[in-house]
Symmetry: C2
Subunit: 440 residues, 2 copies
Amino acid sequence: MENFNIVIIGCGNVGGGSAQIILENATELRKRAGGKNIKIKNIITPHPLRSSKKYNLPIELFCSSKTELSKAQCDAFIKKELKDPQINLVVETIGGSTNYIYNLHKSILNSGKDLVTANKAILAKHGYSIFDFARQVGKTVGYEAAVCGAIPLIKVVQDSFTGDIIDCVKGIVNGTSNFILSNMKKSDISFDDTLKLAQKLGYAELNPAADINGMDAANKLKILIQLIYGIAATEQEFLVKGITDVWKEDFMVAKSINSTVKNIAFAVRKKDKVYACVQPFIIKDDDLLYSVDGATNAVKLSAKHSGEHIFIGQGAGSQETGSAVVSDIVFIAKHGHIKDLTDNISPVKYKLSDFANYHTSYLLIIKTKDNPGVIGTVGTALGDVGINIENIPQSIISGKDWFLPVEVSSCSSIQMDKAIGLIRKRNPKLINAYKYIPIG
Amino acid sequence: MENFNIVIIGCGNVGGGSAQIILENATELRKRAGGKNIKIKNIITPHPLRSSKKYNLPIELFCSSKTELSKAQCDAFIKKELKDPQINLVVETIGGSTNYIYNLHKSILNSGKDLVTANKAILAKHGYSIFDFARQVGKTVGYEAAVCGAIPLIKVVQDSFTGDIIDCVKGIVNGTSNFILSNMKKSDISFDDTLKLAQKLGYAELNPAADINGMDAANKLKILIQLIYGIAATEQEFLVKGITDVWKEDFMVAKSINSTVKNIAFAVRKKDKVYACVQPFIIKDDDLLYSVDGATNAVKLSAKHSGEHIFIGQGAGSQETGSAVVSDIVFIAKHGHIKDLTDNISPVKYKLSDFANYHTSYLLIIKTKDNPGVIGTVGTALGDVGINIENIPQSIISGKDWFLPVEVSSCSSIQMDKAIGLIRKRNPKLINAYKYIPIG
């Protein structure tokens, strides 16, 4: 029986989960890999003993049975494996976007091995260059696990949307921030308190920066935009907001218009332009994304011919992400690099445009003091810059503060900023704080 | 530039939609098909002129410019195309499970062409044999469009769940019946009245039998069970119920336990057994399927490692289903029959078992007259056959009838039938009508 030999570099949650799945389901994987026996030849990690125990993996699979290895020792093991002609594929699950990882990816491909990775940070930064290099050396990169863990978004776009054109991507792609927002809504507590709870329950890391500042979501969106619209991640700079500025009062206002607040990774195609952002959105209760709570991920793809699709699943977790890694290994074992996983699906050269020019309806929320004339001043300023008011929901009183919500019809954030400027000029004390959130 | 030449047989909604997409998106398809130019060489239909007008397709693409062709004339065109070595692939969108279609599929494959079809009826009846024949002659069959239209279920199972084992399939796979049930819930009207409305709005056909009796859903489930569990459709006989016996009172009862009624295609793996059925289910409001209303389809796949996935999209429609047909054409154009689309993913020989033996919680609803002792008689009978009562929601009075709901914990339908038998024996007049609906 033919073996398909792999090496796993890094044995944290994803590497460990992937190894477990491979060992546990050998028969299934052999059938699906066209009869090839997927075999772990080596797991290279600085902590072999600890990883072996933690993930219940035989120590013989590891590069060494020592407690700790130095970086140089790990590198020596990597070098040796990359020289071994029997190794078919290398899995990188170290993570991070350092030069070390970038060079590791290139070394793996250059040594004639295919590469599978769950590393979204490196692909968002250097994906175009890594993919290009892979094509040059005739190898491929599987990265299903890098975007929304278990949700098979990458292959769905690569193989199933080929009869269509994707007009819009709209997703809840960070489980930690969705968990926090879901709990803020449910329990009517502040962002800070909810974050502490999420950390206690293990839904947020001790250093949750990338999750709550939107960067993790932005990395996933960058990879999707590259795949769908052919815009290299390096050419991408778009608006990225996290959830740290979401007020509990936002949920009260949202509720009054049958909506909630979700942090959304968003990209939309308009002729040859693509507008993209990560930021909180107002999501109406007739949108299925409204009900996606907790750490679950969900991505809506709207397509020209086939209409609206929603893909919901687990965006993180050891075995959840591991299953996506293994599906890539099986795919490559079966097909080799016949199929180029790294190619984008767009024949058109789209241009990423500033989201500030994109027109959408917004919910403006002004934190102020209740006094006569506030609505008049706000309404006049909006009108002066050509923004129509759709609806003024009931104001919220919370503590000593008064929150004035205004729903406006389609306009750009440039117009919104102008209106805010006018209000501040005409009445410098009116706005204590404000925000405007896209509705959609 | 290399051409990939196709012939489309049948030009109804799906064939017409597929042709439109191919003509409209030539540049995109070429890029995705690895540079091959997908070219419609002939559309064969008995009504060339009508189809040309209806789908706005150039008459030159059709086999003839005549108003009507006889079956023999169509067959002569088919025969000629199958002999043409320049034709790479044939799309069959006539539909139906007749011997004519079965033989047509075999002729197409035997003539050395790959086959793409949206025909679920023929695949549910003869899929195993057609797939087997395709493997014998070294050709492949694309059938993404046959199950839930635009939702890319087939390829997701074939390529993205290869690192996992699917434990359960639970889906809303018939848009017509979901439209009817959604409207019964919303408007509190009877099945018959809602069906008339659905027919008026074009959501139900004049002969809606296969949609409302569950057979259309059963055909889709058969294809999925074959793909996922390797059980040939011909070996499959399972419980199939439609929605004709859903009462408007069922929704009232369901609402009182924060639930609704959906017709569900269901299959679950227990060791080496698979239990399957199509029937109405009670769906709780914390299940995302609860909110899937109207003609939309949704399928939940629960997998051992990656947890719960939900795929939502349009299960029918001309361009919606057409986009799935075209994705198969592109896939085969790019990969040829390197990749066997017809293989199932299971190395284990599963056995389809009688759903009557499957244990699940049920909602029993008894239509009766309000009189003392009813609950006692029902409760005693359930206890006598070993069924535990979980909850007795408030009874519903509707017209002259009294509906007694009882939620019971996990048991088989064999036990439920025994309990009903006991009640009837002890009090022949108690039950006017009854039903028990799986909860889950």
